[in-house]
């Protein structure tokens, strides 16, 4: 709910703090004697994608100042992980970005594999790629549904998106036993091997996903309302995006060619032929379109991975001892391209069974730092869709 704070306030310049003593002055250049209005949006707001608060100062309908307030979902992930063994942190990574548990698992496993120098069998690499791209489909589909929900299309596109999401979650559940919190990857591989049935189901999903995408795009992409609401709103320039270390689809929507799958070529991503879609304008519409185009590229990767999928081989490196796992002393930073951007884990080991330092580099939080710059001068209704296009998940922002 948008709850007006009881008093209208005036902030003299942009330097004056939102909290603390406030001065009440009539705005200059305004004959009506109107004042600025401070609105606290959230933490319970139907469209803030979780418990996130924005203190917005409005001049009429235009945003003059915006201060994000987070920490409402700070669950001490890093501190808990520093007091738990390496493997025990794996289920907690599921709950970081709760749409994409598979990619979170992979990022953490990738960091630990770097730290301990573990090799991953080829079959496991293919399984990881397949699951990560399925996760990207889940995330982007749900994001588009939520974004259009924020635009005012209450329900219908979201129901379409969640219908397809359920099909993919069925596969995750058959594999790992859980719909959302898969806890599936292990250091040096994955927990359970694919059965032929799983492969058949994934092939089925990959075969029929394009028809859903075509339907979804027909509904949304050329829609007049979506175009007039999204185009030219919340523009993020190329320079600002780079300077504020924004990553993922947001950065690519601003026209910067940076995809860690191409840059690092981690795993086996050098074996696949796919393109990195780039935006021109860096507005909300570009960010929406980037998600659609990335889903097409993900399907391309999935088709190639299913074709090349090795017949035999191990699903986990048998030399890794997961019990009493003690990597040698050192530090490692492992990063992957999660659906939201660069997800990295930084670990310091002192040779014991607990990490000395465990740090998550969350894409959602760092993409959120640019929120005020995108919202200044926009209408208050557009703040919601700009926030929606950033694609945040509060579990990852606050950790």
């Amino acid at each position: 709910m948008i709850q007006p704070i009881t008093e209208t306030i005036e902030i003299g310049g942009s330097e004056q703090p939102l909290y603390g003593p406030r001065s009440y002055q009539v705005l200059s250049g305004n004959d009506l004697g109107s004042q600025l209005l401070e609105i606290s949006m959230g933490p319970h707001h139907p469209s803030t994608h979780g418990v996130f608060r924005m203190d917005v100062v409005l001049d009429g309908e235009e945003v003059v100042k915006l201060k994000p307030v987070f920490g409402y979902l700070h669950r001490n992930h890093e501190k808990i992980a520093e007091n738990a063994s390496y493997l025990a942190s794996m289920p907690y990574t599921d709950r970081l970005d709760y749409f994409c548990s598979m990619t979170n698992n992979w990022a953490y496993a990738h960091a630990v594999e770097k730290l301990a120098g573990i090799k991953v069998p080829e079959r496991a690499e293919y399984m990881r790629v397949i699951l990560a791209e399925l996760t990207r489909l889940v995330n982007h589909t749900a994001l588009v549904g939520f974004l259009v929900n924020d635009l005012g299309a209450l329900g219908t596109p979201l129901i379409y998106a969640f219908r397809e999401r359920e099909n993919i979650l069925d596969v995750f559940e058959a594999l790992s036993g859980a719909r959302m919190m898969c806890n599936y990857m292990r250091f040096g591989g994955v927990r359970v091997d694919f059965t032929p049935d799983i492969l058949k189901r994934i092939t089925h999903i990959v075969d029929r996903y394009p028809s859903f995408l075509a339907e979804f795009e027909k509904l949304l992409v050329g829609n007049d309302i979506i175009m007039s609401r999204c185009q030219g709103v919340g523009v993020l320039t190329k320079e600002l995006a780079i300077a504020s270390s924004v990553t993922g689809p947001m950065l690519r929507a601003s026209g910067v060619d940076y995809d860690i799958r191409k840059v690092d070529k981690y795993g086996i991503y050098d074996r696949f032929d796919f393109r990195v879609p780039l935006g021109d304008h860096g507005d909300v519409y570009d960010r929406l379109m980037i998600r659609f185009l990335e889903m097409h590229e993900s399907l391309k990767i999935l088709r190639q991975a299913l074709k090349q999928f090795p017949q035999g081989g191990e699903h986990i490196n048998p030399e890794v001892k997961l019990r009493n796992f003690r990597p040698k002393a050192g530090e490692a930073y492992g990063r992957i391209e999660s659906p939201k951007g660069e997800l990295g884990f930084y670990l310091i080991s002192t040779g014991g069974n607990l990490p000395y330092r465990y740090r998550v580099r969350p894409p959602s939080l760092i993409n959120l730092t640019i929120l005020e710059d995108m919202c200044l001068g926009e209408k208050v209704a557009d703040v919601i869709i700009i926030l929606g296009s950033v694609d945040i998940v509060l579990g990852e922002v606050d950790r």
């Binding site: 979902l73 669950r75 907690y92 709760y98």
Partner: protein
């Protein structure tokens, strides 16, 4: 209700149906439970999934998610309640008009769950507000939420408007609002509401 069966069937032929006020009251309450559109963490996604096509909460009359607490009957506490968020949850609960019900969804909402050892996590929302149904799971499946809703509907069926066991909102001695905790120097103050939560007494040494 003691009504003569012969009389009742005679009246039914004439299109007159007799029931107690309580039955009608409970029937209408249970058939249109409007939840508050309020998600905290991971469980909120499963709550949305429950409202979407495959699980379809609308079958139970509970699909109208209301963004405003003033229009809601049911609060589904879906996710981890941190100490920063707990005052707002209690405030939202206070803002809901009676009759109101609470479902604590997921391990975090009922006990702190996997994050219980964290310094910032509330160890169960039932420390501050009365919870009608607890759903375990991390996160609970959508079917579990549907089951909880059906369980709540059975509870609503059995509520009494008069007598000793009458409902909370017709009891004059019951507080209409629950005190909102503040974030003190070390912890929430008070750490729990004595009126709704009683710490378990552990019997030690008893053979």
């Amino acid at each position: 209700m003691p009504v003569d069966e012969g009389l009742r069937s005679e009246l039914q032929k004439a299109g007159v149906f007799i029931a107690s006020v309580e039955t009608i009251y409970n029937w209408s309450r249970r058939s249109s439970v409007w939840p508050l559109q309020f998600g905290l963490a991971c469980c909120a996604i499963e709550m949305i999934a429950t409202a979407c096509s495959r699980f379809d909460l609308a079958r139970f009359g509970a699909e109208v998610f209301r963004p405003s607490p003033r229009q809601a009957d049911l609060m589904i506490v879906a996710g981890t309640v941190t100490k920063k968020m707990a005052p707002q949850v209690v405030r939202l609960f206070n803002q809901m008009p009676e009759p109101k019900y609470v479902i604590a969804m997921g391990a975090c909402a009922i006990s702190g769950g996997p994050f219980k050892q964290g310094y910032n996590v509330l160890k169960g929302i039932d420390r501050f507000i009365p919870v009608d149904v607890h759903i375990p799971g991390c996160p609970p499946r959508p079917e579990a939420l549907l089951n909880a809703l059906m369980f709540l509907q059975r509870q609503i069926d059995n509520q009494h408007l008069t007598g000793v066991n009458k409902v909370r909102w017709y009891d004059d001695t019951d507080p209409a609002e629950y005190p909102i905790p503040r974030f003190g120097a070390h912890d929430l103050e008070p750490p729990f509401n004595r009126a709704v939560w009683h710490p378990q007494k552990i019997q030690r040494g008893a053979a």
